[in-house]
């Protein structure tokens, strides 16, 4: 039995009976099946989504094999952290489609929030029995399945390959089988990704109830600037619409509680980033999943923090014992824009690098929200840190700051084939980084879903890492 401690579902610190994590390592799909066979039955039974619910269907501690059988073919090519906490995280995240349908079956309201990546769910989740989710995150599904099904569905509705992979969300809306039809769609647009604004407009035909929220441009006049009050008014509209939908008049205390629960997640992730980037205590693939959990907590604000606490306990333990999961001496890179194809992260780490900083266009979701201010003002202020409502220079500055802090040796910018802002700003960010730090920068576009990464991209990554090695 492991003496290692972790935080249980009840929030207490307790050992994990019958399980001791093996020496930290990134393992293959097949190796995880061997490990899973050794996981005690009691642990498979222990973890449930939507706690305190204990329905049999709500278990989620299942290995990548489970989800691969249901079509997630890419899982067979990735490498995974071999800790129980990571297995738990993967099971929880992969289970989200089912979880959303079960939420509806359990009588909860399911609200699709789109475009703003992090702010509106704080408000939605403050309402009782309401669950916010981002259809935007479906953009990973074609890669996870190695499939064009959702892209083809989007193409039939008017958005083809000249648009960002986020168009998969439109295909998912059309098919009614990736998430339940939402009770309400709250679509944010404005000073943001114009590809996705197009997707949102086409989604409207599938949404019986839809509202639009304006995202302002950030000015160089302080965080809030003149646009802050406008955004607060937009959020007041969101509150009004939610009150109308639910028949529940929300109190200031409920909104503050919503802010606190979002902050709980954000603080856990902040510490995990620190441990991953400085100590190599978590690998880049798991960390990308962790960071994106800040958007909508994978549709379960109650259970996701427990998953994170489990991960954090594992990472802290590794840091204390100086047993990283990735080689601390590996080449250190900052990654700009999330790679739609997660295999790229596995490839780069296999090639001898590790990620020590990220600018995944979700800076707004990483911000700690000020708990002393009026909630809507505080949420608006945190959103004003958003990656995509400011200049490319600001995004570059975020990458530069992290590169300095964690002594990065290079920067990788993975654009999205067809993504309009990527085409515009990749070179700009590259130039800013080179000017500020004199670091090598690799810039490429992620191509369509496939079982392997394109040979040319692989070769360019290999060559880039050789350059970094030669500079040591």
């Amino acid at each position: 039995m492991s003496e290692r401690s972790l935080t249980s579902q009840a929030g207490r610190t307790s050992p994990t009976p019958g399980w001791a994590d093996p020496k930290p390592a990134r393992v293959t799909f097949d190796e995880w099946q061997d490990l899973f066979e050794r996981v005690p039955e009691e642990l498979v039974e222990e973890y449930h989504y939507f706690p305190p619910n204990r329905e049999a269907f709500s278990k989620y501690l299942f290995p990548p094999q489970t989800f691969a059988i249901y079509g997630m073919r890419h899982l067979r090519r990735l490498k995974y952290d071999n800790s129980l906490a990571a297995l738990r995280m993967w099971g929880f995240v992969q289970n989200e489609t089912e979880r959303l349908f079960r939420a509806r079956q359990l009588g909860r309201r399911v609200i699709a929030t789109m475009g703003d990546l992090g702010a509106v769910p704080v408000i939605v989740n403050s309402f009782p029995d309401c669950i916010a989710f981002y259809p935007d995150c479906i953009w990973w599904t074609p890669f996870a399945m190695e499939s064009r099904v959702l892209f083809d569905a989007a193409a039939e509705l008017g958005i083809g390959d000249a648009t960002c992979f986020s168009r998969a969300a439109l295909g998912a809306f059309a098919k009614h089988s990736y998430f339940p039809d939402p009770d309400l769609v709250i679509a944010s647009t404005g000073a943001s990704c114009d590809d996705y604004s197009g997707v949102e407009q086409l989604v409207e035909r599938f949404a019986p109830d839809m509202m639009w929220v304006e995202e302002p441009m950030r000015c160089d006049m302080g965080r809030m600037g003149p646009m802050g009050p406008m955004l607060v008014k937009e959020y007041e509209r969101v509150v009004e619409r939610m009150e109308k939908l639910t028949g529940h008049e929300i109190t200031d205390d409920e909104l503050r509680a919503g802010v606190r629960q979002a902050n709980r997640v954000r603080k856990l992730v902040k510490r995990l980033r620190e441990l991953a980037f400085r100590e190599g205590a978590m690998a880049s693939l798991e960390m990308m999943v962790v960071e994106f959990g800040n958007l909508h907590h994978y549709s379960d604000i109650t259970e996701w923090p427990h998953v994170l606490e489990h991960l954090l306990a594992t990472a802290e333990s590794r840091a204390a014992a100086d047993t990283p999961v990735v080689d601390k001496d590996a080449l250190r890179v900052v990654w700009v824009t999330p790679p739609a194809d997660p295999l790229l992260l596995t490839y780069v780490e296999d090639a001898g690098a590790r990620v020590v900083g990220t600018e995944y266009v979700i800076n707004q979701a990483l911000e700690i929200i000020d708990e002393d201010k009026p909630p809507l003002e505080a949420i608006a202020e945190s959103f004003m840190a958003a990656s995509l409502i400011g200049t490319s220079k600001a995004r570059a500055q975020s990458a530069i700051d992290q590169a300095r802090e964690y002594r990065a040796e290079g920067v990788i910018i993975s654009g999205i084939f067809g993504g309009s802002h990527c085409a515009m700003e990749g070179r700009l960010i590259s130039d800013y980084v080179k000017a500020a730090l004199d670091l090598p920068v690799l810039e490429f576009d992620v191509t369509s879903p496939s079982r392997e990464i394109a040979l040319q991209i692989g070769t360019r990554i290999d060559a880039f890492l050789e350059v970094l090695r030669s500079r040591r």
Binding site: P63, G71, R73, R76, E146
Partner: protein, 350 residues
């Protein structure tokens, strides 16, 4: 007509208790796929790539909602030492069971990578998985312990042993279960969803009492193992299941694939716990005219659709090898039409 959902998406909705655009359609096309691909049946069950290509061709040709790998129920028994003959253009035949009578067991466990033709299945699953698993579920029939045991020991001795030597039978079943679970594990690793098939446990062969005492616990043990992976498990028992339909859900199966039992009876007995798969007469699909097939399938689907947990339009057993393709097509077309859920789009737009 192009359909909105892929078979994968449709199946995904079925297993989380959500309505689908239409009932999934699953004539059990197994070795008949060799006819579609125009290869000898012996190639189908001895060459995994040939098996996969046949199944892929048949799935595309007929527009069914599943790919399902199966040749015969002796698969695991052969891997454990029973001897089968391979006719050129027919399915394997049990030539000599491992044991002629109930006796002492060895400590063998079948190795899926080496023994018998288990590897053929794994190769087939892997190939089909890479080809089409994003859109179509890949299923693999695994003979259950009770059926496997009857391929390990002379069948007459086995059936007599149910009455005279139950302890030896139980040990033999445990012996078979070990290898079956190991095979299931390999199938999962290859990307296939195991279907447990137990035809020799049907009411045509044994009593309900013997089913409960011997077959059911082994089915339950294998299904428990598969549920550790959160897989939705089909239990297929062809033949007469009238005497056991009410206890089959105790196996833990999520879907029951049935043959000779009235759909109303099956739904009343198990439809609140399991999705029902069934159960078109396999003689009829081979010998009837296409329009007769279509009419009967439509009636079957109308009878099955009210099943509370969901219904899959299927044949009761394998589509016979020599079934005219136009009959299978008539089956699929009629099942899709009769199984359409007219409320599906409308309900969601409302």
């Amino acid at each position: 007509m192009k359909e909105l959902l892929t078979p994968r998406e449709r199946f995904g909705l079925l297993v989380i208790d959500e309505p689908q655009d239409r009932v999934p359609v699953f004539p059990l096309v197994t070795a008949h796929a060799a006819r579609v691909a125009r290869i000898p049946i012996r190639d189908y069950y001895t060459d995994g790539i040939a098996m996969a290509r046949s199944q892929l061709a048949a799935q595309e040709f007929y527009g069914t909602d599943f790919i399902s790998f199966f040749s015969e129920v002796g698969l695991v028994a052969e891997a454990l030492g029973s001897r089968f003959s391979y006719p050129d253009d027919d399915l394997p035949l049990l030539a000599e069971p491992k044991w002629s009578e109930l006796g002492e067991l060895d400590d063998a466990t079948a190795d899926p990578m080496k023994d018998g033709r288990l590897r053929v299945y794994l190769d087939a699953i892997s190939y089909a998985y890479e080809a089409r698993a994003d859109t179509v579920p890949i299923l693999a029939y695994v003979p259950a312990p009770f059926t496997t045991a009857q391929q390990l020991v002379d069948q007459e001795a086995f059936l007599l042993g149910l009455l005279t030597e139950p302890e030896r039978i139980h040990r033999l079943l445990e012996y078979a279960t070990c290898s079956i679970i190991r095979f299931c594990r390999a199938i999962i690793g290859a990307g296939g969803l195991p279907i447990l098939v137990d035809p020799l446990a049907s009411g045509s062969v044994i009593s309900a009492e013997h089913y409960r005492e011997f077959a059911l616990p082994c089915e339950a043990e294998v299904i428990r193992y598969l549920h550790r992976y959160d897989l939705d498990i089909v239990l297929h028992i062809c033949g007469d299941t009238n005497p056991i339909i009410h206890i089959m859900p105790e196996s833990g199966a999520d879907l029951l694939s049935l043959d000779h039992v009235g759909l109303e009876t099956a739904i009343a007995a198990a439809g609140d716990r399991c999705r029902i798969i069934g159960n078109f007469d396999t003689t009829a699909i081979m010998l009837s005219k296409p329009q007769e097939v279509a009419d009967s399938v439509a009636a079957m689907v109308l009878a099955g659709k009210p099943c509370p947990r969901g219904f899959v339009a299927a044949t009761g057993c394998e589509v016979p090898v020599e079934t005219p393709p136009e009959n299978v097509r008539a089956f699929v077309r009629a099942a899709k039409e009769a199984g359409a859920n007219a409320d599906w789009g409308a309900r969601r737009r409302a």
